[in-house]
């Protein structure tokens, strides 16, 4: 029983990070109807910004203040990056076919990965040890072992989700976002500046990915330029599982994927843990293509 609870705890903290990334996928899909492949690389760069705060800006390690500053900085840098990517690569393609945009997104993703991997202009391909941003201590609760990092991950995620919920449901910009994802033409007819809202959505999603990057690296303290690919894909699966375009769905999907992955790691199938997310994806697409919380849309001509 204790072991079960321990696994649940580990799964939830991993799932919280997947949820943060999945929200970015789902929000962008909501407004632009395409999969932002470069999202996983924004996540990776978020982790690297956290690393740079310690290695380059010499922020204190093992302190809550320094850790939160690193987190905030990663979010800001990623938000800016997300907007820049959107303006340079996706905006010129606004009325083109989805495939064109998708291929461009893959191109952007490959560009970020390979520039980061390049030893002369990027970080180089070798993994780096991640500094301890937050004070790491183990707390024993009964038979459970809880690390302070897990508490930080969960607390930060809950706060960010609450803020996101507030933005989307209580502010004018959030209302505009929802209007845009409901019907882009109608939204622009009632005076919403679609381009501004799309940029804002990218900023919001990328900031969450940046936070996710720092938190992920806190739990698994080794970073490299390709670290984003697998968590990114799993987060995408989470977004589809919850119903793409649906914010609570993305959070729920993230938690579920995190839990499943942790439980699979605990069995003899542990070497297949990376494949399990895709098996889930294929299963959802077979049985419930709209996702757990999504509604199936009928295509009208």
């Amino acid at each position: 029983m204790t072991e079960f609870l321990q696994q649940v705890l580990n799964g939830v903290s991993l799932g919280a990070i997947y949820a943060l990334i999945a929200l970015g996928y789902t929000m962008v899909y909501g407004v632009l109807r395409f999969i932002n492949f470069a999202h996983s690389d924004v996540f990776m760069l978020g982790a690297f910004v956290g690393w740079a705060t310690v290695e380059r800006l010499h922020l204190p390690t093992r302190s809550f203040g320094g850790g939160l500053a690193a987190l905030a900085l990663a979010m800001v840098v990623c938000a800016i990056l997300g907007v820049v990517i959107e303006k340079l690569a996706y905006k010129p393609l606004r009325n083109r076919s989805t495939l064109t945009v998708l291929i461009t997104a893959i191109g952007v993703s490959l560009l970020i990965q390979n520039v980061s991997q390049n030893p002369t202009i990027g970080f180089g391909p070798n993994p780096r040890a991640y500094p301890e941003l937050f004070p790491a201590r183990q707390i024993h609760l009964g038979g459970l072992t809880v690390s302070t990092n897990q508490i930080v991950v969960l607390a930060v995620t809950v706060v960010l989700l609450a803020v996101l919920h507030w933005i989307v449901h209580r502010t004018r910009t959030g209302t505009a976002m929802r209007a845009l994802s409901f019907n882009a033409t109608a939204a622009s007819l009632v005076g919403i500046n679609n381009d501004r809202i799309i940029s804002f959505t990218f900023a919001l999603g990328s900031a969450l990915a940046g936070a996710g990057g720092v938190l992920y690296a806190t739990l698994y303290p080794s970073i490299d330029p390709l670290m984003g690919t697998l968590p990114g894909l799993k987060a995408f699966v989470a977004a589809v599982l919850g119903g793409i375009g649906n914010l609570p769905g993305a959070a729920l999907g993230g938690l579920l994927i995190g839990l499943v992955e942790t439980f699979v790691s605990g069995t003899r199938l542990s070497t297949f843990r990376d494949a399990i997310a895709f098996a889930i994806l294929i299963a959802i697409l077979l049985f419930r293509p709209a996702g757990l919380l999504g509604k199936l849309k009928v295509e009208k001509v």
Binding site: L102, T104, F278
Partner: protein, 315 residues
């Protein structure tokens, strides 16, 4: 009584590759290696073109199908062939092509397994599912000890020669071309142009998509077999996402849904990759920049006539 023009071209290319094969031993081995690699790229790009270009789907798992074919045919020639006690000639000219076909069939089977659940969905989902499939294949190959796990599969006999590579390339291009120019094949284009309209006309759109997927996967499997018996060594890491992207770039550069453009692009990119080998770290940067710039300025592909056409390529 001559066969139609297209079949004459096919026969001519087959004859030419057989002739060249006879003298290929005298060629510079490095040049031969690059040429064979380019031929395999033609098989891969033309078969992907059927899926991504003509049928308007978006598969990112072509390297996965290639891996299935590569491992299947390599297993046949490394484990089954020695027990049969065949002569070298029989191995080279009978057993090897049969193993290529077997690898292709297994890849086609994988194509059904991946395509059937996911092809009912739209493009971007398919991209992710096929990408995921490629990853699953890689993870499975890395964990199955019988095929060498992550150490890789070694000691594969080098049966691949000029004739098999360029013969396969010619057959692939011909099959894709003939399929699309048949009455049945017009349906692929209809699915790409407007799926809803095609369905309203009574076409089984899912059936077309799966057919495209299966045929494409088959030839990817054959290409994998050729690759395995060219390099003599297989490693699951060699069939990664990057490999799939390389093939996708060939199709896009050649103009999605163009036969000759894609062949030219496949040949050109293989040679380009070879010449960029010294600048190894910058190769993928060049690829990705090429991809973005191409999509922004010339989504119909580079080698599309008329060159100044502003028309977007097949979706």
């Amino acid at each position: 009584m001559f066969p139609p023009r297209s079949q004459r071209i096919l026969l001519a290319v087959l004859a030419a590759s057989a002739l060249l094969s006879a003298v290929s031993g005298r060629l510079n081995p490095y040049f031969l290696d690059v040429a064979l690699g380019a031929g395999i790229s033609v098989v891969l790009a033309s078969s992907l073109n059927l899926i991504n270009g003509f049928t308007g789907q978006f598969s990112l798992g072509h390297a996965g199908f290639m891996a299935v074919g590569a491992y299947a045919s390599a297993m046949l020639t490394t484990t089954l062939a020695p027990r049969l006690g065949l002569s070298a000639n029989l191995l080279q000219w009978v057993f090897f092509p049969l193993s290529l076909v077997a690898g292709g069939l297994l890849a086609a089977l994988a194509g059904v397994a991946v395509g059937a659940p996911s092809l009912r969905l739209k493009g971007d989902y398919l991209a992710i599912v096929t990408l995921g499939f490629g990853e699953i294949i890689k993870v499975v190959l890395q964990n199955v000890d019988a095929v060498g796990a992550s150490r890789g599969l070694t000691g594969i006999p080098s049966h691949t020669n000029f004739f098999w590579v360029f013969g396969s390339a010619a057959v692939t291009v011909y099959v894709v071309w003939a399929l699309l120019n048949s009455t049945y094949g017009r349906g692929f284009l209809a699915v790409a142009d407007d799926e809803v309209a095609a369905e309203a006309m009574g076409l089984n759109t899912t059936g077309y998509k799966i057919t495209a997927f299966v045929v494409g996967a088959f030839f990817a499997g054959v290409a994998g077999g050729l690759y395995a018996h060219l390099k003599g060594y297989l490693n699951p890491g060699g069939f990664s996402f990057d490999k799939s992207i390389e093939i996708v770039v060939m199709v896009i550069l050649g103009g999605m849904g163009r036969h000759s453009g894609v062949v030219v692009a496949a040949l050109l990119l293989t040679v380009l990759t070879e010449s960029l080998r010294q600048t190894g770290a910058f190769r993928m940067i060049v690829y990705s920049v090429l991809l973005i710039v191409l999509m922004l300025t010339r989504p119909q592909g580079l080698f599309v006539w008329p060159l100044w056409s502003k028309k977007e390529g097949r979706p």
